[in-house]
Amino acid sequence: MLRRRIIPCLDVAGDIVVKGTRFQDLQVMGDPAELAARYEEQGADEVVLLDITASAEGRAPRPEVVERVARRLGIPLTVGGGLGSLAVIGQVLGAGADKVSLNTPALQQPELITAAAQRFGSQAVVVAVDVRRVDDDWAVFARGGSEPTAWRLAPWLKKVESLGAGEILLTSIDRDGTGGGYDLEALRSAAATVGLPITASGGGAFAEQIAAALAVPGVTGALIAGILHSGRTTVADLKCELHAMGVSVRAAG
């Protein structure tokens, strides 16, 4: 039976893990390799490393940082941030990432999804989609949620699936950092639209909220960040609570 995945996300600025609000007031949370290894030990099923300043600084995530994290990890690693060409995608995968996460570059040049899937396989291509609730629909945003696009959620997901993406990372900008729970309606809409595995992101702070997201058919993973870095909880504690709620999670070790 397929287990539900708990995926810690490390937001990095270059080579340090940070936490901020809308990319402002960045607080240093620690070393990415140390944190990733700690979360694996706690029972994390994958780790996402997102370089949140790469795009703005016109660079890709630093290969030496990716390699330092990947060397330590015995679980899958996804890397995102500023991956605007096949060459830099290849560089990040070559440094030891198992998957890349494409967001703004996918919106700017959707053909990059197809090129990456053909070269590295669909399983290596995650498309990250940031949405905001607009009336009865969800609008897709680029550049870390700061730039609206003409896309709505369902048509964009269909497009992304047809272009060869292997996974969707769906983040609710409205919920991100609020701890108010995932946008379950957006997740339901996404899962009804595509047959790809979907990871929920934005707003998850308690086991009940994670369980609610993972109860949506097609949602196979939940991304968590701040609550782990602050030490408020651990992956092990969350999984223990989730298991007690009847969610199928993997035991560490």
Binding site: M1, L2, G74, D98, G195, L196, G218
Partner: protein
């Protein structure tokens, strides 16, 4: 030395590092000479079957792997396991070391690719695969192998259907999941593999004790 056969596609670093963390001496190579000098060969792989099949048919790589599989352990991972078979619906011819084909999965409405952690139920008498025990491993694939011989099935996994997640025949073994990214269970499996390699490297006639070997 353990050779990781480089088909020029996909990321081989995670497999290399996982083996190195267990103390193995590893070389990533596509050179027939290096492959001939190795105690064992790991054939990893992600991506398209057809692209990998083309690499195998160019130059000596495919022929060298077929030849070495007669005398040293050959361990295929993910696409590398699929390449052990004759052909795939994804297009292209494999190494044909094991009879059977590769087909697209039909997991009854569940998402594809099959992505995430799932149970591996090992069969008895499949060498290092059995020694690792049943456990949970990380999968990411849309195609699954269909061995022509039931005796070659070393493990099964459930995902909307029951599919073959590991195979074994003599020196040739393969797993559909990624032991290099499967935490403690994966480490245990790779350590069992290295132990089998160490035992076999002392033998001029490596083990044929597995159930499928005598009839193959």
């Amino acid at each position: 030395m353990i050779a990781i056969a480089d088909l020029g596609i996909g990321n081989l670093s995670s497999v290399r590092w996982a083996l190195e963390r267990l103390g193995a001496q590893v070389e990533v190579t596509s050179s027939p000479a290096a492959l001939r000098g190795a105690q064992a060969i790991v054939l990893p792989g992600v991506g398209h079957f057809e692209a990998a099949a083309q690499r195998l048919s160019q130059g000596d790589l495919g022929a060298t792997l077929r030849e070495r599989a007669q005398s040293v352990p050959l361990f295929g991972i993910c696409l590398g396991m699929q390449l052990l078979f004759e052909r795939s619906e994804e297009g292209g011819e494999g190494l044909g070391l094991l009879p059977g084909t590769v087909r697209r999965m039909a997991p009854r409405g569940l998402p594809l690719p099959h992505t995430g952690w799932n149970s591996v139920e090992v069969e008895p008498n499949a060498g290092f695969l059995t020694a690792s025990g049943s456990g949970e491993a990380y999968f990411v694939h849309s195609y699954a192998v269909e061995p022509a011989q039931r005796a070659h099935v070393a493990a099964r996994t459930e995902y909307g259907e029951r599919f073959v997640s590991a195979v074994r025949s003599g020196h040739v073994a393969g797993v559909q999941f990624h032991p290099e990214r499967s935490g403690a269970y994966g480490r245990r499996m790779l350590a069992s593999f290295l132990e089998e390699v160490a035992v076999c490297s002392k033998s001029s006639r490596p083990s044929t004790s597995w159930k499928g070997a005598s009839s193959a």
